[in-house]
Amino acid sequence: MIALLNGVLSGELLNEVAGKKVRDPLSLLHAGGPDSGRDRRLAFLSEAGAEQPFAVVKWGRGAWARGLVREQAAISQVRATSNPVLLDSCPPSWGPFESGPDTVVMIQRYIPSRSIYSQLRGNLWPRLLVDDHFARVSSWLGHFAQATLQAHRPLDEALIEEHIEAPLRTFAQLFGDDFVPRQAIDGITCAAKEHLGQSVPLIAKHGDLWPTNLLSPYSRAGGLYVVDWEHYRQVSLGGFDMLFFCTTYSRDFPWRPMGWMEYEVALSRAFIQRTWLAGHVELALTDYHAAIELPRGLAPILLAVLMARMSVRHVEAMPGRTPDPQAYWPRVFHAWRCRPSNSWLDVWAG
């Protein structure tokens, strides 16, 4: 056994994770920085001299430990579905194991793959990858929605309150009425109420579907691995995961060689202007809304709610962090609220 992590990584466990008898001694791959969270870490284990790791070890303390507990529960739920695509996309995971006071460890089988984020940021011609990325993610989200669909039900006041109005109010409380004026919340809520009575899907939500958490396997042309399930929710109004992916994909796309685009410009290129990326986003949203039977008119509303929710999550994730209106999510919320009325998404939504 390994004495590190209070001895929770036994030889038997490592053999199970690797799916074979592991030869000792082990090698380590680990990174850290001055800004690394002191309460969460990640390390890769490999056999000495091996070409690739066999396990990923996640360690968390305090709030991050609770996140790992949630993640393990989510992975167990997803792996329990009978959908082979989901089963295949979610790497086997063991834990959570207590490794000390308020600290938790989980260990996952390493799957040879590269994140979509890494592919985008490490490629001289990232635009050539976009079609493939959107195809993989759209296909996976379709299977995920199909496997986790709870029900279709008419949009009512209670659903609007829970999934739209309440998150916006929390956002306003945190960031202040100057940043989130009352009329902004009322406007979004009123727009949602125009869809009262329309059938909406209640499905599970990954909750963190940005390009770093989406891994493209080395070994096959199709397929997708999805990691970091700590924000999973079993029941949510459908639509958020696809919007999350499209928003963050545009933000992380190297619009300039290896460079970064201003947040508002990246948002505009995904949802406001008719750009080549907007074409991919439109196609993905059209297919997804049709597949899960979600009214198109809700997309601009859910996008605003997503931004508000994420703004809140980032403040609440770190105790003591103060709301920063210049952070990514509040800024794009503001940009989306002040968008021109003829954005392609609004036109598409009808």
Binding site: M1, A3, L26, L29, H30, R41, S118, G122, D324, A327
Partner: protein, 224 residues
């Protein structure tokens, strides 16, 4: 791997630098003298008292770790800690005189300034390690060192050579010194800027001055 509050900043380069004398930087003499006088002393944060590259080491995975810096006169400066808590530095005339009431699950031996490491060192370090514990030997790369450790028959099992190398924005990586693991490390940390990307191409062929060699050594059999 969760979502960052902001995109990575556009700043390039590592903010920390590695001094020529690691020992003097890691354990400034004024601090050693002060800590010795006060006994255990207060806990510190990692960035304050350990070299910048220490962030690449999994100190967080150890409930009792020990950081050793042998001096040229045979004396040893040392610092112990628990997970991310770091206790004050002390100095002992020899390695044998370091109090060893507990066994450590991780020991870092920072002997980059030491040319020749005595073979008797390994048995003493093996005694200080908990069964299954990890010793990280940061030193000049010596092809014969793993063989000498195995020959000392003190239950130490050296892995392959690793490197500790600077990443971007003050990050440091610990990885096996192989091309496949280099590629994986770079994929896990894609370049933020063109400058970083060009630097990576350059360092593929040129040695990176700040890279530190590290040999992970496990006590006894790691796996059952």
């Amino acid at each position: 791997m969760t979502f960052p509050a902001n995109k990575p900043s556009r700043g390039v380069g590592d903010r920390n630098s590695i001094p020529h004398s690691a020992a003097s930087r890691a354990f400034p003499s004024s601090e050693v003298a002060q800590s010795s006088a006060k006994g255990t002393g207060p806990a510190h944060t990692q960035g304050q008292v350990l070299p910048a590259w220490s962030v690449a080491l999994p100190l967080w995975a150890s409930d009792h770790w020990l950081w050793l810096v042998p001096g040229s006169s045979g004396s040893v400066r040392y610092r112990s800690g628990a997970i991310t808590k770091i206790l004050a530095a002390k100095q002992a005339p020899t390695l044998d005189q370091i109090p060893s009431t507990i066994s450590y699950s991780l020991i870092v031996l920072d002997c980059r300034a030491t040319r020749k490491l005595p073979d008797e060192l390994w048995s003493r370090l093996a005694e200080m390690l908990a069964p299954g514990g990890l010793l990280l030997v940061c030193c000049l790369r010596d092809k014969r060192l793993p063989g000498r450790m195995r020959a000392s028959t003190c239950g130490l099992s050296p892995s392959t050579w690793h490197v500790i190398e600077p990443g971007q924005e003050g990050n440091w990586h610990l990885r096996p010194a192989s091309s496949s693991m280099r590629r994986l490390t770079l994929e896990l940390n894609p370049p933020y800027t063109t400058r970083v990307w060009l630097a990576r191409i350059l360092y593929r062929w040129l040695p990176q001055r700040r890279t530190i060699n590290c040999l992970p050594v496990w006590r006894s059999r790691v796996l059952g």
